[in-house]
């Protein structure tokens, strides 16, 4: 069972859809879901049967050609992405009854392309291949943003496209400089040769990679349009962006960081960048009134937290980061998917929606997810945050610790405001219940949140292995270079 199927099958499905769409819309929806179920099962099977890292060869073996590296950290992300996109597609099956997207076949093509490209980002071992997958994911995301073709959506798509195009320019510049000075495009060979370069070329390449990735990863000075993008897009696509796309970009950024700069230069800079980004995002969120915007700022804050966790380059902090990532993706999926249903039903996107909405099921899952994001014990968010704060204190970075705790306090202010608005007694008597399939999806995700919170030791081995694999540059190089 090769891992190429994760990319080839969604691409095949996407290419064939314009003709298959003539045979009926429901056929496309169901076959897309069938494909995603098959890929999720494949990822579970790979996880269970894999005992060591393997390489998939494409055309010719790396380091001359492109190869996919399948190790435990890649499989973690592959399972995560297939699971989330499957859940989102299942949720969409009922959402489309209320407010269908026009030209639905094209929507499923985009979802499948997003799946293929995010998995490709995580698996690939060649820097130009990573750039191509960035472009595929990016272009699918731009069209998904602007899908509704209202002025807001088009503006969101336009701004997303502008930031993405500028990021691509800097990325191509960095790849060009890397190839000119090192003569190779393979990540392992680049990581071997990178430390030997002159320090100002190294600085220049790192700066370009930081700008290029930073625009995509939404870190502090470069995230001025991100909340506009989240506000203009549908809540459903916001769920995909926040839970899948940004996580793939974050993984690629830190994977390259560990490979190219294993001597922990810039660590302090990145740590404070993440913490400042989180603080600013939480402070701005206090004054917002649009629900999508509030949760977008919360996502930016959590991304800052993940930056801190991954920048410390220590196994415990990386596994804390993986826990936070898992918890955040689960919670944001629940939040944005329920918001999608609520927006369709009540036609109100403002914070006043919370006062007028009356849906006990959705209210409960939203409250559980928000408590998890805050870091309440017995829910998923607590494990990661606690581990991270412990590690920060262990290293003696008390200024950083203070910034993180301050941001968490500010976040809890507006979170408790929202929870309070959710819990007041409603005047409207009729209740809104989402359909059974949607309840199932939200229940699965919420149970995931509770399970990871109550029993984190069940997956702690896997998290620790993944974290150490991600940090282990030497064995990555041996894997790719010893294969020839």
């Amino acid at each position: 069972m090769s891992s190429i199927y994760f990319i080839a099958l969604p691409l095949l499905f996407g290419f064939a859809t314009p003709i298959l769409a003539k045979f009926g819309k429901n056929g496309i929806a169901y076959s897309s879901i069938l494909l995603q179920v098959a890929l999720f099962v494949l990822s579970l099977q790979l996880f269970v049967t894999m005992d060591r890292s393997i390489i998939e060869v494409i055309a010719i073996a790396p380091p001359l050609g492109i190869g996919f590296v399948v190790n435990s950290i890649s499989l973690f992300f592959v399972m995560l992405f297939t699971f989330f996109i499957l859940m989102a597609s299942l949720y969409y099956l009922k959402l489309r009854k209320l407010n269908p997207y026009p030209n639905e076949a094209k929507f499923f093509i985009l979802i499948n392309m997003l799946l293929a490209s995010t998995i490709g980002l995580v698996l690939s071992s060649d820097i130009f291949n990573i750039y191509v997958f960035f472009e595929i994911a990016g272009i699918s995301a731009y069209i998904l943003s602007a899908y509704r073709k209202t002025p807001k959506a088009l503006e969101a798509g336009l701004k997303y496209l502008l930031t993405g195009a500028v990021a691509s320019i800097f990325l191509v510049f960095a790849i060009a400089l890397l190839y000119l000075h090192l003569g190779t495009l393979n990540l392992a060979l680049i990581s071997q040769g990178f430390t030997a370069l002159d320090s100002d070329i190294k600085l220049l390449i790192s700066l370009f990679l930081l700008i290029g990735f930073g625009l995509k990863v939404e870190i502090f000075p470069l995230n001025f349009w991100v909340t506009d993008i989240y506000e203009g897009s549908d809540a459903f696509t916001d769920a995909l962006f926040s839970a899948v796309v940004v996580k793939a970009y974050l993984f690629v950024f830190f994977h390259l960081l560990y490979l190219f700069l294993p001597n922990k230069e810039f660590t302090l800079f990145l740590l404070y960048l993440g913490a400042v980004s989180m603080l600013i995002a939480e402070v701005i969120a206090l004054r917002q009134n649009n629900l999508k915007r509030i949760f977008a700022y919360s996502s930016l804050g959590q991304v800052g937290l993940l930056f801190v966790a991954f920048s410390m380059q220590d196994v415990i902090s990386i596994s804390a980061g993986l826990y936070i990532l898992l918890a955040h993706s689960l919670a944001k999926m629940v939040l944005f998917l329920s918001l999608a249903s609520l927006f369709e039903h009540y036609k109100n996107e403002d914070i006043s929606l919370l006062k007028e909405m009356n849906s006990p099921f959705l209210r409960n899952v939203i409250i559980i997810s928000m408590l998890s994001l805050l870091g309440i014990p017995l829910l998923a968010g607590f494990v990661g945050k606690f581990l991270l704060l412990k590690t920060v204190a262990f290293y003696g970075l008390f200024g950083l610790l203070g910034l993180l705790i301050l941001s968490a306090l500010i976040e809890s202010i507006y979170y408790f405001k929202i929870i309070g608005l959710l819990l007041i007694k409603k005047e409207t008597k009729e209740q809104f219940h989402p359909s059974t399939l949607q309840k199932f999806v939200l229940l699965v995700l919420t149970l995931g949140v509770i399970f990871v919170g109550v029993a984190p030791f069940a997956i702690s081995d896997f998290m620790a292995t993944s974290a150490s694999v991600m940090l282990d540059t030497q064995s990555y190089q041996n894997l790719l270079l010893g294969a020839n």
């Binding site: 130009f128 750039y131 191509v132 472009e135 990016g138 272009i139 731009y142 069209i143 602007a146 073709k149 209202t150 002025p151 807001k152 088009l154 503006e155 798509g157 336009l158 701004k159 496209l161 502008l162 993405g164 195009a165 500028v166 691509s168 320019i169 191509v172 510049f173 790849i175 060009a176 190839y179 000119l180 495009l185 506009d228 506000e231 203009g232 917002q288 649009n290």
Partner: protein
């Protein structure tokens, strides 16, 4: 005299310096346009100029004088003494991707203009803070 000037300019180092200066000049033009212009089509044109500058820089610097193009012809029957084919393949891919993204962006801008009549970035504030 002319011979020595031509010989000087025909060396690889000098050619590479000229290419660097020229492509970075183009990059400067594109960057200035990106930062100062507000009309959306001008922003797209600036992004296109910046992309082209990077491509010219890359292809120009991966040239080695004295080696020939990487394909067989009448005078070359084996693959020795040839330039590197990888930059050409990379730039081919990058050109097509850049063109696709810009074409998509222009279609967004056209549709937005049809709906609201605005085409300047500082007027595009459908979403008030």
């Amino acid at each position: 005299m002319i011979e020595s000037i031509l010989y000087y300019f025909n060396q690889t180092e000098v050619i590479k310096t000229i290419v660097t200066l020229g492509s970075m000049g183009l990059f400067f033009v594109g960057l200035f346009g990106l930062l100062s212009q507000r009309h959306i089509i001008k922003v797209f044109i600036s992004i296109g100029i910046m992309e082209i500058a990077v491509f010219i820089f890359f292809i120009g610097l991966s040239f080695q004088r004295g080696l020939t193009a990487p394909m067989l012809g009448d005078a070359h029957t084996t693959f020795i003494q040839m330039n590197d084919p990888i930059p050409h393949a990379m730039i081919l891919t990058a050109i097509v991707i850049g063109m696709a993204v810009l074409a998509l962006g222009i279609s967004f801008a056209i549709e937005y203009y049809k709906l609201t009549g605005k085409n300047r970035l500082d007027e595009m504030n459908e979403m008030k803070n």
